[in-house]
Symmetry: C2
Subunit: 319 residues, 2 copies
């Protein structure tokens, strides 16, 4: 929930004059995302989404993100489509920040994902991977296995205060994943953060994939492993194998998983659980409990990590 940069009427009018989307009618800061300032912009032509990129986003990455959305939208993926200005550019400055306008997607994020949502996500993720196959630019995944140790070291001293024994458990897990992390799997552009908050549905129909600001190049099956963590566990932290089966089966029907990917999935899922555990742990330790930002419980991901650690075959995911 964040609006870090405020936009004045005159500067908005000047900014919109560079586009062909009508005159501003309303601008409401959206309580969404903690990285950027997001606005729902209403013009005489309709609704749009205005983003001002704040300090935590590297401006050098913006052409990758906006180019990817152009590429995916052109291939029928229901993602925000960048609006290009009269000069052809989708990226310019507003209120001293890099800024872009995209289409505004209709739909609601599922608060309590059901099996049908998991199946829809499997299909959409595989289509996303297929559509990204010929996207040439490259962006490394800063939060893959090489990025986990620095994160861990920044939280290590305080980890046992969050859960007794957590530091030692994470150290062991990290060492194993660094040693055994699957290499050479089919790779391409992944979303890397496809949680329910980043997916919209209109009734039964998936109507939007949003927030591509973690998108990068990595193993495609790792993206599926992220979704397995994000969509297929119940509030009591147990794995719902019906949902896991629905997710993986639907994915596999569009983009068949190789034998290597199938075998790697439990380890990828364990790594994905560790990745979210580590960023949540860092935020937990470094965000005051009194801050209005809701801190997300890192221990939710410890439970998921332990589940994946005990998986012996895909049968444990219901397959």
């Amino acid at each position: 929930m964040a609006v870090y940069t405020e936009v004045g009427e005159a500067e908005l009018a000047a900014f919109l004059a560079e586009y062909d989307i009508g005159a501003p009618e309303a601008l409401k800061g959206v309580a969404e995302g903690v990285e950027n300032s997001n606005y729902l912009l209403t013009t005489t032509r309709g609704q749009y989404f205005l983003t001002l990129y704040e300090k935590r986003v590297d401006p050098a990455d913006l052409p990758f993100f906006l180019g990817l959305l152009d590429h995916l939208a052109a291939r029928g993926i229901v993602c925000p489509r960048p609006i290009h200005g009269r000069d052809g550019s989708a990226l310019r400055q507003l209120a001293g920040r890099p800024a872009s306008i995209t289409t505004f997607l209709h739909g609601l994020s599922p608060r309590r994902p059901e099996t049908r949502h998991c199946a829809a996500i499997g299909t959409a993720l595989a289509r996303l991977h297929e559509a990204g196959g010929d996207f040439a630019p490259h962006r490394a995944n800063a939060l893959s296995v090489a990025g986990w140790r620095p994160l861990f070291e920044q939280s290590r001293a305080d980890a046992d205060g969050v859960a007794p024994g957590l530091a030692a458990e994470l150290a062991g897990e990290l060492a194993l994943l660094e040693r055994d992390w699957p290499r050479g799997l089919p790779s391409g552009v992944i979303h890397a953060d496809l949680f329910p908050d980043n997916v919209l549905f209109r009734g039964p129909e998936l109507s939007g994939l949003i927030d591509f600001y973690f998108a990068c190049n990595d193993s495609l099956a790792y993206d599926l492993a992220v979704c397995l963590n994000a969509w297929c566990f119940e509030p009591d932290r147990s794995c719902n194998v019906t949902k896991a089966r629905a997710l993986i089966t639907a994915y596999d029907q569009v983009r068949p998983l190789s034998r290597g990917e199938r075998e790697a999935l439990p380890l990828l899922a364990r790594g994905a659980a560790l990745r979210f555990l580590l960023t949540r742990l860092y935020d937990w330790i470094n965000t005051p409990a009194t801050a209005l930002v809701k801190r997300k419980d890192p221990l939710e991901y410890l439970a998921k990590l332990r589940f994946h650690r005990n998986v012996v075959s895909l049968g444990d995911y219901g397959l």
Copy 2:
């Protein structure tokens, strides 16, 4: 900037079934207001504003607020109009909270108010006062002179840490205002918080007055005194007499100020400055600097208070 209560798809659909405004298309939490959860709701019929009332709002006050908006909208005031459900009620429960839907007003809040905005506010405020004249329900102003001492006492011990000598200066100011506070002036429903954030303009035209959750019964001229503080000072904290004259003159042309109101205005403005100083001081002391909520500088209002203290006649406001 806040969304405290999240709303699920199914509960939103059930809630909207009580209304005749179409099916939900999108719901975006709005980074606006710190008291309630606010959403911009898009349905198949258009855009609406959904508010879930959080703990700091007394549910007993909600019929006053919603009834007032109905009353004002019926009299042509450009305020949010409550949407009534099929049962006639504009207030029901959603996600365990009292909730209402209103129309969504187009326009932008002026970031740097100009003289023309001040004149428009004077006119709009006087019309608001006229339109509220026959609104029967009554709500006391909890933040008028009787409410200032309790606020002061909660901040007194820490006040000198904010500015040396502040505690003594506020104690003296408060004693004087308690003794001399104007009584018996024309009274009625006031907005009580008509800051630029709560006013929308479409180009030169005032298109919306919003956020009536401080509305109450009090001296009408006190509302004008609040606007004088909120609209007529420059970023360097000096009073802009051109703006003050525009505000007061425009107000007076719609609802002529009595001699008693004119004489009381400097003291009312001094009280209004103290009121915002005290709430900001309380928040300053009690909000961690690390919280994402922007704390507003209480000393801005100390400068305004001192200005009004030295006013000898309305000539000092440019009249």
